[in-house]
Structure formats: structure tokens, C-alpha cells
Symmetry: C2
Subunit: 372 residues, 2 copies
Amino acid sequence: MKTADLIIASGEASADLRYASGFSTADAYIYIALADRRMILVSALEFDRARLEHKNGIEVLRDTDFTDLERPSFADIALGAARKLGIGEFRVPADFPLGIADRLRAAGIQVRPEEKIYFPEREFKTSEEVSKITFALRLAEKAVMHARDVIGKCSVNNRRELMFEREIFTSERLRREIDLVLTAGGAMPTGTIASAGIHAACPHDRGTGPIHAGEPIVMDVFPRMLDTGYWGDLTRTVVKGTPAAVVRNAYDAVRRARDLAESLLAPGIVPATVHRAADDLMARAGFVTERRPDGSYCGFFHGLGHGVGLEIHERPNLNFRGTTPLKGGEIITVEPGLYYPEWGGIRMEDMVHIVPDGARRLTRITDDFVIE
Amino acid sequence: MKTADLIIASGEASADLRYASGFSTADAYIYIALADRRMILVSALEFDRARLEHKNGIEVLRDTDFTDLERPSFADIALGAARKLGIGEFRVPADFPLGIADRLRAAGIQVRPEEKIYFPEREFKTSEEVSKITFALRLAEKAVMHARDVIGKCSVNNRRELMFEREIFTSERLRREIDLVLTAGGAMPTGTIASAGIHAACPHDRGTGPIHAGEPIVMDVFPRMLDTGYWGDLTRTVVKGTPAAVVRNAYDAVRRARDLAESLLAPGIVPATVHRAADDLMARAGFVTERRPDGSYCGFFHGLGHGVGLEIHERPNLNFRGTTPLKGGEIITVEPGLYYPEWGGIRMEDMVHIVPDGARRLTRITDDFVIE
């Protein structure tokens, strides 16, 4: 009996599946790889499109050819394929659906979830992938430049609120301005962060309500291109008018931490080393990370960065736990940040490509803080 | 030992989790429900936002409180919670990650995937859910009305191509016009279909290339609202100029099938009955469903409709296999279509709410076919 790789997922939800087959769908389908054959089993509804869009080397087959049942489930089809192809064991991704795995096991098929990652090669980008990711990043840059323009055009009312086109300028409006650029550029905006003031003190808060002069405005923009499925990731923080001294100092510390981290990144370096160097620099500048008596965190309490590709967060993780040296070929974000409920948050995020002699910065947009 | 419900997923990927907790994240977190307590276990990064956004009745706890490990996995945290809370069995959704399930089982915890659906009550919408879904539908209607306006403004060149703003009008441009309205309205466009001609003969083809006068243009628009997570779903087919007689006849057959289906829908009806009635009507009008010698299908070869809520496709399915009678409270699409490679495709999709005396049509937009 043979062992085969098996994925059952939608091409949109599973980056592994899209990586393997090149075919993206809203609905789930089946991918099977044997030593000498790789195939996808799709429904009648997807068959013609699958034949057009699949990667080279993939056979496109009808799922109904593997079962005689009138109403087959995915488990039925996978079982039929196992019998027809002489497969006794399936190697599956760790997030493979338990319900299907239990059905296959009950029918005598071994199902072994991959402990680590399913396609380790996804971590190391081909030149085609670098182009696709850079394309998405350029679109994010275009959106942030547009946002900078809009903030530049804002006036400030006597309550220190920004005003744009005779209305109070809010996080909601800023996010919409950004998302419209992403959509016009052929990307899917999936949760753009445009947060200011106290909201920005919470790194994953998307932002709501009026934006005020003097408070940092965090824009974290991560378009997924509709055609390729690849992501870009970019964060810039700006302030309209004059920030408080502590905010200015925090911004400088974050920028220097970003520069230091990018100068350290190279094949052979251990991610935890880079994370700690950035953290130490910001702590020496007076911005300490701590857990407060109410249980909340302040300072720098997220990872320094992460891989980006067909997933917005993928390997490698650039955090204090990362002990596996970089190899070269990764595309990762470098995104130090500081968050204090007293004044808000600051984050600056570049993307870099790890190349033989270090880290090539893919991000080109300005990191100027103050918008007059 | 107790039995508990367990979900480990991201609130964006798992409609069950969002339904249970009200809290949406890009990253995964843990939900546990005992007979008398329901809780979510989140990271430091999500804690503050979770406390703001969770549903009533949910306890928000820190995942680090359930393990002493420095680098806990989700399986470690779930195991820690099982021990602390005296849980011997977890009931999980069928798509629960196999890798985590195997870890829990190896530690002596029973893990039982739910055979059917995890929250059967999701099928029956509360009035608040009806409002949220209708809101998304209204936005889809606004986008299609805008698209109709744009198509109305197009001219036709001597190759029968539509022209807009001095450029050839393409599926890509039409999709962008639709997606910009969705984005401006606070929704995520996730794969708008704007297909014409031969592309429209493949129901899931999103469309590409120039659009010609006289050929049917299928617009399938399904925004997901960023704030609520609920979807709307709308399809309209239009033609610029004069269609061929067969296309006109097909359009009329699809519209009559839609009307017949909506008149049959009510509590107690079996979905297969409605699907077959729509299929029969179109067949009697001369539009037969068949598999051709090359293996491709033509006619009406997808389901008549599906539930819509926190997922774009959810229970109940309205197809020839559906034998469970409707109960009332469902929101479903009614979307007959006809597809022939000779002339393209036509689909018309409404949303209806199953109420005690029948089906209340939620969709209000015109179904006029011809745009001069």
C-alpha cells in the first residue's frame, strides 16, 4: 500500500492547497500527491476552471469518478481514491478536518497529521513569489501615501479633532480611504488598521471614532491580491501637528529598533537574537515592556516580525522564541512597536527579503512621522 | 469528568466561533463551553479587545493562565484547561484541526467531532441577524445599481465591444466598479463575479476580458460586512443592447423558475421539491441539463440555493438532494441559472426569509434584463 499526501480544503482558506495546485476556490476540493502523480479531484462546477488555472504537473480529475455513491461526502471520495489508487496511508496538514480523518481511519486508512509544516519550501520564496509579494507591497504603499495626503489636507477644529471635507475625520473614514485604493488596485482589504489615540495602544484594535491632532495614527495595511493570492504588509505611524515629547521619543526608538533589526538580519542569524536586540534598544531608550497590576501589557509585547507569502502570517516567526537560524530566501516583516495606554501606540513595519549578504528592504515608502 | 464544547480557530475563519463568542480575530483562539460556563482563552495581544467585543455571557480569560509552559501550543493550553476544569471529553466541530485532536487524545482526553453541524440554531435567524444580512444585501444592490449605470453609459464600438471612458470595458473594470461600492460601504469584496460571454457559461468563472454588446453579463455580488461578519448575496444578469432570441428565452425561463421557486418556499416544503420544480420549468422551456460527450455540463447544474449568514454558503442547501423540510426562520438564496457554451450563462439570485406563510423576498432590486 502506498502513502500519499492529502489536502481537503478550499484554495482560498488553505495556502498549502493553493501552493500545491495553483487553483483557488471558495468551496473545498481534494488534492492527492503520490510519488509519481499529483492530482486534484474537483466537482463538475469547478472542473472547467480548474483545467485552465491549475499548476503544471497537476492532473485535474472529476470527484465523481472515484465513487458510485449518489451523495458522496469528501470522506467518501477520498476513500474511493485510496482504494482505486492503492493508498494505505495519507499524510495530511495539521489542520486537516478531524471529522474526515476519523471517517478514513474507521475505514482502515492511516491518517498522519504533519507535525510541523506541510510544505517547508513555502518559507523560501522563488523570484516569481518575490515579485508577487512586492507587487502587493507597492499597492499598500500607494494606499498609505494616499492616506498621508488626506491627513495632510485635514484641518484641526477647536476640539483638536481633524476635519476633512467639512466632517470630523474618523478612523472609519481613514480606513475607507485606504481600502478604496486597495480595492481599485485589485486587492482584497481584509482588516486594515487605522487606529489613533487610546485605540492604537491595543495593537490589533482596528480603530474607531474621531482622530485628534497630536496623537499617533497607526496604519497597518495588508492587501491580498485577488489574482495571485499573495499578501503585502506595511505599517506606518503618523501624527498630524506636533506630538508630545514622549511620543516623539517613542517614535525615534521604534525607528532605530527597526534599523538595528534590519541591519542584523542575514542568513545564519537566530530570530530571538534580533527580537531581543530591538527590545533592548527600546528599553534602553526608556520604553520598558511590562505587565501592569491590572494584567494588561505595555511596551513591546508582540513578535518583531513574521513571514509573508500566501498567508499574511506564516513561517518564520521573528520573536523571542525563535531559535532556528534563518537560511536565506525568506520574506519577513520587521515591525517593532510601543504601546502605552497613556498616549497610544506606534508601530513601523517594513518587509525584507533575506539574501546572501543580509536583508534587502523591499519597503520603499517614507517613514516621516509628522504631517503638518 | 465533564464534557465540554471546544473550538480552536480564528473568529474570521470560523463562523461557529464568531457565532459563539462574538469576537473576531485573524489569529486563532480557544472557546470552551461547559454546562454552566462559556469562556474564551485569548493571548495578551487580543485580551483587551476581547473584553470589549465579546458576547454577553462569555468569560474572557488569558490563555497563559492555563499552562506553565513557556511556549505553549493550542493543544497545551486546551489540555491545561481540561485538567483545571475537570473536562474528560471535548465535543468539537467536524473541521477541528486533526493535529490538535491527536495531541489531546494521546493525553487521554476524548475528542468527538460533531457529525452534523455544530450550532444547528445558526440555520434559524434572529431578527437582529435578519437586519444584518439585509443590510449587506442592500449594499450589494447598491453596487449592482451602480454597475447598471456604468453599463448604461457605455458605448459600443465597431467590434461590438463596450467602451467606457474611452477604454474597452472589461470584466476586470466592471468588477472594480462593483468592489469599490462594496468597500466604500464597509464590506469586504471577496471574489465578485463579473463575467460575460463564454466565461459566464462557467458559473464560478469570475470573468476576464472585453465585454460585448448582446452577450449576457452575470454579476454575482456577495459582500461580507466588516463590522458584523454577515454576508449578503445577489446575482443579476444584464445585456447591453439586443440579445439573441435564445438568450432572451433563457432569461425568461430563469426568471419564471425564480418566481415559481419563491412561490413554493414555505415551512414544511422539502428543498429537493423546489429544486426539481425550477429545473423542470426550465427543461420544459427547452433548456435541458445534460452532460456532453466531452464531459462538460450544460443547463442547470448547480443547487437552486443555500443558506446565508456568517458564512456565504451555509445550511440549508436548496438542491436536488435536500430531503429535510424547511422549518421557518431560514434565510436562503434562490438562484436558478442556465449555462451553455454556445452563448454564455444567465443567473438570477434573490434572498428570501422563510416566514410562517411562505417566503418573504428580501431582495428589492430590479430584474430588468436589457440595458439600452
